[in-house]
């Protein structure tokens, strides 16, 4: 029997030749520079809507971070109202977005601070949802059987509730007004969709050969779920979490507008809009328009970005 491959001295040439593809020796080198994420990043950069969306969203993030420091007025210093113009002032050079009625806040100051907290609430709640949803969905999908049935029935039951009303009730009992508790409440309801999504992905991933290979290597289930499978399910999780930020921002704006959300001591786009309610009929359009536009820009930006991410992270899509 001729031994074409003695183990003592590994024949280097053979191993190298075996790797060569029609592209020639450079092929391998070229491949090395393109990981899964690099390919996705390239695709994302070529996606026009995604780029515009990113500019919109990250522009707002930038404003939220640095805005309060460079603004002329401080949100937490209550202005001394000028009694003669109790109804507010339209945009002017001194107040680009105008002034509100009653207390004569600078609307720009309100919007910038509102964007800051709205984004904070959206990002934190959505991230919380992503973590809980990934854990629950991952465990349900991987183990299947009774674990899956019980967890998914809980999700079904929670999804069957009219969410906004539940949140209204929750915020009323668990400290309405505090932005942190509002964030936590949104986070506690944000995971349902992601859990379903992750479970569905896990159901197909757990049938992969590398799961059997990992189990055959003695790796414990917890590690298989979180080290082997979740990274493979990351694309839909990222897309869903991104879009979730927009959902939470709108949801928060909605309940704050109704007066059940974040109190006026913490500005959010929702409660700024709520404040404008009584003054729109007096022609104070700027008080509602600018925070409203801020919501539109953020949500549109996130949705464009989410679309772009979905395309960029889809390994089957070719751009």
């Amino acid at each position: 029997m001729d031994r074409s491959l003695p183990p003592e001295d590994p024949p280097d040439e053979r191993a190298v030749t075996e790797d060569l593809e029609p592209g020639g020796p450079d092929y391998d080198v070229q491949l090395e520079s393109l990981s899964q994420w690099q390919i996705a990043w390239k695709r994302f950069l070529r996606h026009r809507a995604a780029l515009i969306g990113s500019v919109m969203f990250f522009g707002m993030v930038l404003i939220a971070i640095v805005g309060p420091f460079i603004l002329q007025y401080d949100y937490y210093k209550i202005p001394v109202p000028d009694v003669h113009v109790n109804a507010g002032r339209p945009p002017s050079l001194a107040h680009l977005f105008g002034e509100t009625g009653r207390l004569q806040w600078d609307v720009l100051t309100l919007v910038v601070n509102g964007v800051r907290y709205s984004l904070l609430i959206g990002v934190i709640a959505s991230a919380m949802g992503a973590v809980i949803g990934t854990i629950v969905g991952g465990v349900a999908g991987y183990f299947g059987g009774w674990t899956d049935t019980i967890l998914m029935r809980i999700v079904d039951a929670l999804l069957a509730l009219p969410l906004l009303f539940v949140i209204l009730v929750f915020t009323k009992f668990l400290g309405s007004g505090n932005w942190i508790s509002v964030t936590v409440i949104f986070g506690l309801f944000e995971w349902l969709g992601i859990a379903r999504l992750v479970r569905a992905v896990m159901l197909s991933l757990r049938e992969e050969d590398y799961v059997d290979a990992a189990r055959a290597a003695g790796i414990r289930d917890r590690r298989i779920i979180f080290r082997h499978l979740i990274p493979n399910a990351l694309s839909p999780i990222i897309v869903s979490t991104t879009l979730g930020v927009a959902g939470v921002i709108i949801g928060e704006a909605f309940i704050s507008f109704l007066g059940f959300g974040v109190g006026f001591d913490t500005p959010t786009l929702g409660n700024i809009l709520a404040g404008s309610l009584g003054f729109i009929s007096q022609g104070n359009w700027w008080w509602a328009f600018f925070p409203g536009m801020a919501i539109v820009v953020i949500v549109l930006g996130i949705n464009f970005m989410g679309d772009g991410l979905r395309d960029a992270l889809d390994p089957r899509a070719k751009i």
């Binding site: 029997m1 031994r3 074409s4 491959l5 003695p6 183990p7 590994p10 024949p11 280097d12 053979r14 191993a15 190298v16 075996e18 790797d19 593809e21 391998d28 491949l31 090395e32 990981s35 899964q36 059987g145 992969e208 050969d209 590398y210 059997d212 290979a213 990992a214 189990r215 055959a216 290597a217 003695g218 790796i219 414990r220 590690r223 080290r227 082997h228 990274p231 493979n232 990351l234």
Partner: protein, 354 residues
Amino acid sequence: MTDALVAPERRAGVGDVLLDVRDLRTYFHVMDGTVKAVDGVSFSVRRGGRLALVGESGCGKSVTALSIMRLIETPPGEFAGGQILFEGNDLLKMDNKRIRKVRGGEIAMIFQEPMTSLNPVMTVGDQIMEAVLIHQGVNKKGAQEIALSALQDVGVADPRRRLKQYPHELSGGMRQRIMIAMALSCNPKLIIADEPTTALDVTIQRQILELIKSIQERTGAALLLITHDLGVVAETVDDVAVMYAGRVVESGTVEEVLLNPRMPYTRGLLESIPSQGKRGQRLSAIKGTVPNPFRLPPGCKFGPRCPYAWDSCVEAEPELIQLGHDRTARCWLNDPRFAARRAAYDESFAREHP
């Protein structure tokens, strides 16, 4: 018969029984009923020994391997009976913690599909080191050293660079080498290779087989090879067990089974191998198909496809008849009562295989 029961001479380095599968029954309860994928399989592998499980698709050989690793999901699967003794301990009775120590640490498995058996989002190094970190009690640096030397052992050039690569950057043959490196990195006592070359090019197949064999010889690990390719069997192992419809139908040393098959199924498999000598002739094939697992025929499960079958084969299923030391066949032809039929069978075999 007594002189036939003398143990055949064994290759140096082969010791006592390491893995003893006794009357293993693995059933699957599915919508349409129960599939008895493995129904009373027994065989044993010695320390440093090499055994092949051979059979067609669906004969239960992969399920046997997965049962040994306890990778059968229960439900729908069920271990309906039998024992799998590994160093005297029943793997089927171990709790999850102990079986995890056995998996990867004591028994390693090489899978059929190198293209899908590696996680696409983890680097090769992380995947090899993962098992080493669990079983070897070393730190990350030590694990990397072990991974590097394992890659060198399987003939991977520039292992330091390979550690950082992702599976999609490697060819099929290279990935199978990585899988073998993973298997050997924890110094297992038994390597189960489930059709390790089926998914590879013919040229790479040979390299990989030689690699598995040389590693097996050097490390002294036992090898359980699962394959449908008798050519592979002849080159790689010492002993062979032929499976059909969830049962072992013939077993013995490679020479005995391949040169003197005592069960028509084995003979059919042998005769369906293309070879130089048969050039220009019509390749013979076993008639019919593997029986439906829900409706197994009465008597011998191979009976309906067997060219030598007669009434007895329908009336009762033959036992695994002991023909010598570690030599068995499940066929009525080996029963002394049917010596005349046996003679005819032998004559036709001698005629066709001079």
